[in-house]
Amino acid sequence: MNWWQSKKRDEDLERELRSDLELEEEEQREGGVSADEAPHAALRAFGNPTLVREQTLAVWSWNSLESLARDLRFSLRTLWRSPGFTVIAVVVMALGIGANVALFTVVRGVLLKPLPFHDPDRLVMLYEAGLHEDGTPSFNPVSGGMYAEWKEQNRSYSSLALAKEIRVGLSGSGGQLPEKLNSALISWDLLRTLGVQPALGRDFAPSDDNPAANGTVLLSWGLWKRRFGGDPGILNTAIDLDAMRYTVIGVMPQWFDFPDPSTQLWTPVYHDKPEETMTSYSNHLFRVVGRLKPGVSASQGAADMKLISRRIHNAHLDNPFVFRSANSRPLLDHIVGDFKKPLYVLLEATSCLLLIACLNVANLLVARAEARRNELAIRTALGGGWLRLMRERMIECLVLSAGGGAVGLLLAFAVLAWLTHTRHDLSRVESIHIDGAVDAFTVGVIVMCALFSGLIGAFSTSDKRILSALHEGSRSVAGASSRAMLRKVLLTVEVGLTVILLIGAGLLLKSYERLRSADMGCITQNVITMHLGIPDARYSTPASRANFYDTLLQRVRALRGVDAAGFASVVPGQGQATDWAVTVLEHPPLPPGNGMSVLGRWADSKYFGAMGIPIVEGRTFDASKRLGAANEVVISESFRKRYFPGEDPLDKHLRVRGRDAVIVGIVGDTRYEIGEAPEPVQYLPLAAGVETVGTLVIRSSHDPEQFALPVQRIVSEMDPDLPVSDILTMNQLLGKSTLDQSFNTTLLVAFATLSLILAVVGLFGVMSYVAAQRTNEIGIRIALGAKREHVMRKMLLDGMWPAVVGLLVGLAASLEAGRLMRDLLYEIKPLDPEVFAAVAATLLAAAVFACIVPAWRASRLDPMQALRAE
């Protein structure tokens, strides 16, 4: 029905009723009623004209949206009249909905959306496995030799491709500085395997991917835009990478970020890597992507690889580093594996938050229904149907949660913008955006919230109670307490959920603190690190390399304010990086098929001093022994513990990296990654002139960051084409590797704080309400001589019990929640008593804080005033 039609009908009906009413009035007068009385008598006989009108109109519009629209207008009006309530409810809902929508968007973008490749379900990541047969599935990088065997012998994959992340130096050109870039070595068929085409130019061909070919490179869209101004003329021109010529053959699409979001260049692996690396079975370097043939299942494919690996292993029993098995998992799992668990934990936390928000709004609604009891009662008495009133309240809830949802969506937008800005490391961060599915999710959440909070509110008042409200008048003591009961139960649930969130946050916080305070085994304050690498092409002899680092370190140490400086291929906190096979010459040979593989680093003689790694026994390298004569090795404490139990390792000999070296010193343990236990490490002298890439460390007692510029100047004076990158203090370097933990912790702490505030506000509200309801009773008690302290204690205890019960329930539930988070914790148990105690104390303190003001107010009551008030 159109509104103008309905308007006409309304006017028509009003006229009809008026004329009939006038007639009735006339008849009443004729019947002997006085002129003054007649209108009233007519009304009495006629009934309530407004109600008649409503009911008659309802005949015309019983299934139409019109009545809905009317209810909507009505609820908007009522909400408008109580802005305080409305704002609070909308804000609470917005926080809950916003957090959920944002996190759902992330989860959807990162975990649920299929990868943007052709037929992504058929793509798997393959790994070597089973060097140590301890049963747990291991996901190790694959050696070039094994890859070649897999590729040739398998019958399960339509294609297999290689990828390896590396860093290369892009030479300065056209006035631009040289820079260090994340790059990927890939086999020529990687893009074909993924089903991706360059946006510009051509893909690699088999002829590009061999040592004899000319160098070719694909650029990322971002690099092309930034460094080359998005000029299509870049195609077929040459750029220098690590002092080698590469022809640009194409530019990848903007969204393409395999194998890593920071990858900026792709070069063919067989061209770049020496043949011995590509045919080795023991140098495990690569990621292997496979596309399953149609009809072949993932497990069939993996079984095929396992068989081949076992065969190769058996054929090379003399080489202890040939893995004996293989593993596979979906490509998506490989890419998002690290983020899955934390994201789901955070999603659960936000659901908790949403539930708390709903409970809070339900609580407010119950309170509001109490305040509106008289209005509702009168409306019921005038013929307002129960269903009608119910519907009105549901619509009110819907309006509230829709408002909350709208604000929440804005909130989610802001949060996502911030997130994508700060978390570049998050895989697939580019696929996070609000789309139709997220909108549908938002609408679903809004409706759910409205139903949930609305129904709880609605069930708190039945029509019978509404009718009795008028009888009860304002002297209601017993009735009110039973309604307060419902609110207390809601509060108990809310407190329970809050406790779970608090405990989760507490566990992460403590774990994060442990993590940050973990002893790295070296100095982390006042140390700055810089990444540096000299290209093989220009520094081809050991002497040139050793000289470069000698000169560099000499000049850096000469800078004013530098306390110490050193150089190592890998410093603590940079990951496992490389490990080297090693044998102890003095030990009997290991049984065939067994070997030692230990983390290996190149370091200069003053590196240990600069990093504060203690020399436990013996000495550091002899700086005068250079190049071929540098035949010394330093091992770490845990190296000694593991491989020289009960013997003195000094002056024993190691065969490592093709040279026999004598152990001259034992240094303290360091951690290759924060949060991981120290592993054995062996150090070889940088002066041998083998290593080209590594990290310069500088220690200074004040502000080591000031050396960033002078050092860069020194480097560019020595070699203008050499980029210095990743200039980080040691703390920043470690902070980078704990970014994930700090992120999760921050979020969860924020959620927990929010829910604590909501719970406290809820508690305060209920307590104030209960106190107000009992003003009369308390007044009588005080008048009869009750001590004020007793009144206060009683009120306080009354308010505390939902908090205490909620706390107990929450603690019990946290046992389970903690178990869920076990993987995210570092060096603490999910049942950490300290965290549990702290949470219990915080919660009780907050509850006392929320209850004390109403209780105090109640105990200060002036009995005379209290009694007069009613």
Partner: protein, 117 residues
């Protein structure tokens, strides 16, 4: 008070029949219809406007009556007059026979002796 206790609750649908039957005498406006039913039943059926007007509009919606604003015979006022349609007449017949059967059935149960004699 006494009147109120005697006020009979009309069976669902009965009011419609009474209105249609009243309109058989000719067009009438709401007030007249209400008064007529009240008077004819010796005030036993107190017409509640709360149900009369919705019923009238329901009948109009179903097409059993039509309405029109017309000047009253006394000539100085307009009333909304309802008039029975052909469809309404048929409906009245159907309801009447249904009601008759119903009344007989009820009577047979309530006063079986009277039936036998």
């Amino acid at each position: 008070m006494a009147k109120q206790t005697q006020r009979a609750g009309l069976l669902q649908g009965t009011l419609d029949m009474l209105i249609l039957r009243t309109l058989l005498y000719g067009p009438a406006h709401g007030h007249q219809i209400g008064k007529h039913i009240q008077r004819t039943t010796n005030e036993f059926l107190q017409m509640q406007h709360g149900s009369l007007y919705p019923a009238l509009h329901r009948l109009e919606r179903k097409g059993w009556v039509v309405s029109k604003w017309e000047t009253a015979p006394d000539g100085n006022r307009e009333f909304k007059y309802y008039r029975l349609t052909e469809k309404g007449r048929k409906q009245l017949l159907a309801e009447e026979s249904h009601w008759k059967k119903m009344a007989e059935a009820v009577a047979r149960v309530m006063w079986p002796a009277a039936e036998e004699s």
